[in-house]
Amino acid sequence: MNPALTMATARRILTQLRHDPRTVVMLIVVPSLLMVLLRFVFNSELVFSHVAPALLGVFPFLIMFLITSITTLRERTTATLERLMTLPIGRLDLLFGYALAFGAIAVVQVALAAGLSLAWLGLEITGSIGMLMLIAVLDALLGMALGLFVSAFARTEFQAVQFMPLFVLPQILLCGLFMPRGQMGWLLNWLSDVMPLSYAVEALTRVTTSGSIDGVIVRNLLIVAACALAALMLGAATLRRRTP
């Protein structure tokens, strides 16, 4: 582990993005646009306030998953990964570099979407805004870590994109957003229990309804962070110095 290499990697990834302004704009603006759209779809501040916190976590999760799985796949297929594996850089330096760069983007993305929702769209939360941001950014990092991990199983960008409906949509369907988790059958409930997004959404909903930071929020935060870290470690295991 070498912080200088992690920083250099993060800087390199952000510089790559800087040369692609259209992607940057979409990354930062799209979640906010979706929040605006949602507000007018429900056409009621009350219903919006009920659903919005969960989506502040879901949108960054989804977008980061997509972006990271494509970027890392590109790194694998263009042989830059092979080159890096011959150089004195640790796999974790590389992965934490990714986490840092995409984490920074997630902060901007979430801050804008949350700020907009709170200021103009009528979202009201009783808990702390900082906590809401923290959970949403962790969510984005979870999406990033999962995207990194599954990119190892894709050979082409077509396959990588298809992992989104496969790995992400079930989590969104089962996280309690469409149907309270308690009302699902035992199998779906169990599935929902093993999916990290469920804990993130539960924590986000709790932050908006209760003023204090209770044990459940802390536990859920730890679960999401642990899952993100585990996915990152699994991702590290898929970066091989030697390949067939």
Partner: protein, 241 residues
């Protein structure tokens, strides 16, 4: 400390169920330019990947600068340029090289030096993705030159370059060898063989020859190396059939 930069002993590599390198053994002396020649698909790239330590091998050993291939101390000592450019297309040449320089803990002044060495000074601020094929290749080569490596493993570095640039690069390889670096350069163009101090000729995963260009001409009685290679292939085929 051995005198050889690379020692390959009974190396065998299978890729996709096919034997790509078949029981190859040779040594590469330090401070010279060794050419790895042979037709496309003969196993040159796989052999080079084994030397830089990114190839899963089936058997045999590869020792590089006194260490097992792929071991951590080698990662600062080897400059490796893959045949397909492995350099970020969405960065400028300078930005991409800066990143690799920081990974190697090489001074930032190295970036300008290597850009100059491969003759891309006028294009330093251009996006790698917008370069022509030959320029792209040279940018890829520049990465391998960062940080004064002791061993350079260059896979087809001159492919697609015009004769003038090719000549300049070979002059650069010569200067690097004169300053003490060891170079292993692959090519499928026989006229580049004459520029090397030693030659490794490969065909279908096996080593046909490991000697100096002069010895090869002498042994086969051919004046040009293309002919020498052909005669070698025919005599080996005649002896095995």
């Amino acid at each position: 400390m051995t005198n050889s930069a690379i020692i390959v002993d009974s190396l065998r590599v299978r890729r996709g169920g096919r034997a790509v390198v078949r029981d190859v053994s040779f040594e590469v002396p330090r401070g010279v330019v060794t050419g790895l020649l042979g037709p496309s698909g003969c196993g040159k790239t796989t052999l080079m990947r084994s030397i830089v330590g990114v190839q899963l091998v089936e058997g045999g050993t590869v020792t590089v600068l006194g260490h097992a291939a792929g071991s951590p101390p080698l990662r600062r000592l080897i400059g490796y340029a893959t045949q397909n450019p492995a350099i970020y297309a969405d960065l400028t040449i300078t930005e991409a090289l800066r990143y690799f320089a920081s990974v190697l803990r090489a001074p930032l002044s190295d970036v300008d030096r290597v850009i100059g060495e491969v003759g891309l000074g006028d294009h330093a601020g251009k996006l790698v993705g917008s370069l022509s094929g030959g320029q792209h290749n040279r940018a890829n080569l520049a990465v391998a030159l960062l940080g004064k490596p002791e061993l350079l493993v260059l896979d087809e570095p001159t492919v697609g370059l015009d004769p003038v640039l090719r000549d300049e690069l070979w002059a650069l390889f010569r200067r690097l060898a004169d300053s003490g670096a060891t170079l292993l350069v692959s090519s499928h163009v026989m006229d580049e063989a004459a520029r090397c101090d030693r030659l490794l000729l490969m065909r279908e995963g096996a080593l046909l020859a490991d000697e100096t260009p002069a010895r090869l001409r002498e042994r086969t009685g051919a004046t040009d190396l293309e002919q020498a290679f052909l005669r070698l292939v025919r005599t080996t085929e005649a002896s095995t059939s």
